[in-house]
């Protein structure tokens, strides 16, 4: 009882008072450090090396291709002729002005992503804390669950940690130094997350439409965003309720409308529709089988033409497939669903790069309270570290030394993706387990009184 009252006092005292100005200085320092690291790497000879690496750039987001496409445009040729350029027309408009300042723009987009994530996580933590406070006051948690409560102190530093995880992650730094356009995609997704968590349906729909327009996969983020906004407006997520459908239609209309507007606007940029097969056809039909850290290239290199369409469909459905089941399970936890969905997109998309991985890994500090329930975290982190180190080694052995072959590189790719899937599923397990404990008590007992264990089925 004393601990309970202590919790009440802590919550009441600092309830909801996350002083935004208090964290401005560390955030600025973090941004300065990140910019310094990137600037140093830009000036060194590593920049050339990194922008060639297949793990960091893919045919979709290579800066060399952007320069090539814009040069084609200057010569009066459509940049989508041939297999060089796979960026969307709106980004052509953006790059047209910033092509000479590519490095600064990359750093600025990283900064935007980090600040967006920072603000988003800040608001989210506020909500989480408030909900926890109300639940504690209503005495909804079993009494032995007090150690599972998130304290304000740890919640205070989480946004900074998120920004740090994003800005100082080696994956992000590599992606930025390679001037990969993945940074812009990440910025759009991060802004979408920020707008969703802040509750603005229109902006969220617009950014989601932009993200979908950039690469098709973020359309799966429609479900978590919808659930979150419904929750925020206190509309129950029940398929039989009219209010649910009303809001869903509104949101869908905003999303589809903005997508149509953006697509139409892109048509007016170049006056032709040939960006659609070049961008979306490329993403969906995976014609380019340059090795990357994903799963598509090896499989389709060996595929007979007869079965290619079938397996393309299977592989692409794999990305979209987990949305509905996960959203049913995580109906009450839309932000975690968003994290899982972004992770699934990064793992199963057709041309993943390390920049995509950096985005979902930035969210990991938000779930740092789940640490005690994570089962495989040591093995997963070892696997991810080892595979990240082995990627360039086996690439060198395969391509330059000739003593390995593609199977070696593919094995590491496979292991890396397995590690990522394990990481995501581990967090999923830990999250659900904590929720279970919060409703059923920390020390679970079977009917006969002996100790029980939780199994994720």
């Amino acid at each position: 009882v004393s601990t309970l009252s202590l919790c009440f006092r802590i919550n009441r005292r600092s309830g909801g008072l996350f002083l935004q100005t208090k964290m401005a200085a560390p955030l600025t320092l973090l941004v300065i450090v990140a910019v310094t690291i990137r600037a140093v790497l830009f000036r060194s000879s590593l920049a050339e090396l990194i922008s060639e690496r297949v793990e960091v750039v893919s045919p979709l987001n290579s800066w060399k291709r952007v320069v090539e496409g814009l040069a084609l445009l200057d010569l009066g040729v459509s940049p989508y002729s041939g297999d060089v350029f796979h960026e969307t027309p709106l980004t052509i408009y953006l790059y047209h002005f910033v092509i000479d300042y590519a490095e600064i723009v990359c750093m600025v987009t990283d900064g935007i992503t980090a600040v967006a994530l920072y603000l988003a996580v800040q608001v989210y933590n506020k909500n989480v804390f408030r909900k926890q406070k109300y639940a504690l006051e209503a005495d909804r948690y079993p009494h032995d669950c007090l150690e599972l409560m998130q304290t304000p102190k740890e919640l205070f530093y989480v946004p900074l940690k998120v920004a740090m995880f994003y800005l100082l992650s080696p994956f992000t730094i590599l992606s930025c130094v390679a001037k990969s356009t993945c940074g812009i995609n990440n910025a759009i997704v991060a802004l979408f997350v920020l707008c969703t968590i802040k509750g603005s349906a229109l902006l969220s729909a617009i950014f989601l439409a932009l993200a979908t327009y950039q690469s098709i996969y973020p359309i799966t983020l429609f479900a978590p965003a919808l659930i979150y906004l419904l929750q925020r407006l206190y509309i129950p997520v029940n398929l039989r309720r009219q209010s649910f459908w009303l809001f869903t239609l509104q949101y869908a209309f905003m999303f589809v409308g903005s997508l149509v507007v953006i697509v139409g606007l892109s048509f007016f940029l170049l006056g032709s529709w040939d960006y659609i097969p070049s961008v979306y056809g490329f993403i969906l039909s995976v014609p380019d089988l340059t090795p990357n850290i994903g799963l598509f290239w090896y499989f389709f290199a060996e595929m007979f033409e007869h079965f290619r369409l079938f397996f393309i469909c299977v592989f692409q459905i794999n990305v979209f497939f987990y949305t509905i089941p996960l959203s049913i399970k995580l109906k009450d936890h839309p932000v975690f669903l968003m994290f899982m969905q972004i992770a699934i997109i990064s793992i199963f998309k057709s041309y993943p790069t390390v920049g995509d991985i950096a985005l979902y890994m930035a969210f990991l500090p938000v779930w740092s309270h789940l640490y005690r329930f994570l089962r495989n975290i040591f093995m997963v982190s070892c696997v991810l570290l080892a595979c990240s180190a082995l990627f360039p080694v086996l690439w060198h052995l395969w391509i330059y030394a000739g003593s390995a072959n593609s199977n070696f590189y593919y094995a590491i790719t496979l292991l890396f993706n397995v590690g990522q899937v394990l990481l995501v599923s581990d967090y999923f397990y830990a999250y659900l387990r904590r929720e279970h404990h919060l409703s059923h008590g920390l020390y679970l007992k079977k009917k006969d009184g002996s100790e029980a264990t939780l199994v994720l089925k």
Partner: protein
């Protein structure tokens, strides 16, 4: 039949010499010496992969000796099934050693390999021997021998009873080889042929020969394995096979004027050194092996005829006729203007940068402004106006 003719000719020659009163034994001796006019060598290594380093070293050792003794590259067809000198596992790239402690580099910098890597196949080997190559085959890949050619054929690799393995995927049988030699005989492609084989059970490969003028040597009998000589710990593989190692040692002592004969060659690598029993076959050979010089096959010794007469090679030239010598006036010629600079400067279009269409910019920024005001409320408008 040929023997009878030879005897008849010999007796005629003898009769002649008796009539002329010259040195009889010397002339008879000269008659029974080999009447080849050119030498060819076909040296084949049939196995690939790094651990078969010794087969390549074997072939290159024989190549080296043969070249040293005078056969030019144009008369050597060298077939190596794998590249050991530039293999990734070679700690000393661009070398192939045949002695422990890397004393003798048989690769050098003047090795001309005619058939390399996957070109060394049974089909190519048989085509080289029989001459049935496509017309586009270059000269270096052909065995352009005639009926006065002495040919040395050296094969090494992995073999068994009656076959020799090529490239780890196919094999040539002794019957095929015998038939190829018979084809060569019928097409008059050799005068005499020395066949050396250094493989396990090598003697089985010459069992089936039936064409005349063939002499064969093998490193081991049927049922025996030919063993390798020494591994080199720095390179990590065996460098040579025993038989070829001692053959090389023997050949290093041979020089172009050497009078060593085939009987010495048969004694190379006795069982005490080779562990296997080398074999040879001379029943198809016309001459006595004791009178066959090593250089008849391994070297390229040409017979030189000294003459004391002078031959006039210059023929008085025929003066050329002048054709219709009417001089015609020549117009002054000048070059066409290659680079009309004046025309170019004014016609080069200025490099135009692409700009997005105005409608697009208008539409985009209108939308952005609309969204901004929708989200943050119309009250911000008052800050602008």
């Amino acid at each position: 039949m040929p023997n009878i003719i030879a005897v008849v000719c010999a007796s005629y020659g003898l009769a002649q010499s008796v009539c002329d009163g010259e040195d009889l034994p010397a002339r008879a001796e000269r008659f029974f010496r080999s009447d080849h006019t050119n030498n060819w060598a076909v040296l084949v290594c049939t196995s690939r992969f790094w651990f078969n380093y010794r087969h390549v070293a074997n072939t290159l050792s024989v190549y080296r000796s043969v070249k040293r003794l005078g056969i030019p590259d144009s008369h050597i067809v060298l077939m190596l099934a794998d590249d050991m000198a530039c293999n990734h596992r070679n700690p000393k790239p661009a070398t192939v050693f045949s002695h422990k402690n890397m004393e003798l580099n048989v690769y050098g910098d003047d090795v001309e390999v005619d058939y390399r890597g996957y070109e060394v196949t049974v089909e190519n080997f048989l085509r080289v021997l029989t001459g049935r190559l496509p017309p586009s085959t270059p000269r270096s890949k052909r065995l352009l021998s005639d009926d006065h050619s002495n040919i040395l054929i050296y094969l090494t690799g992995h073999g068994g009873n009656g076959f020799l393995k090529f490239q780890d995927s196919e094999e040539i049988s002794n019957v095929e080889l015998a038939d190829a030699f018979e084809q060569m005989w019928q097409k008059r492609r050799y005068n005499e042929l020395l066949f050396i084989i250094d493989t396990c059970q090598g003697a089985s490969m010459y069992e089936r020969f039936y064409s005349p003028n063939l002499m064969a040597l093998a490193s081991s009998q049927v049922g025996e394995d030919s063993l390798s000589h020494q591994p080199d710990l720095a390179i990590g593989v065996h460098l040579m096979d025993r038989y070829t190692f001692y053959l090389l040692e023997f050949l290093e002592d041979i020089h172009p004027a050497s009078q060593a004969n085939m009987n010495d060659l048969f004694k190379v690598c006795p069982k005490s050194q080779c562990v296997s029993t080398p074999g040879h076959r001379t029943d198809l050979f016309q001459r006595d092996p004791g009178s066959v010089l090593i250089t008849d096959f391994f070297g390229s010794v040409r017979k030189v005829e000294i003459t004391m007469e002078t031959i006039n090679l210059t023929v008085p030239g025929i003066p050329l006729e002048r054709f219709g010598g009417e001089p015609h006036t020549e117009t002054a010629l000048a070059y066409v203007d290659q680079l009309p600079v004046a025309q170019i400067i004014h016609q080069k279009p200025k490099q135009k940068d692409w700009h997005p269409p105005d409608g697009f910019i208008l539409g985009l920024w209108t939308l952005i402004l609309l969204v901004f005001f929708r989200t943050y409320g119309i009250k911000h408008l008052k800050h602008i106006f």
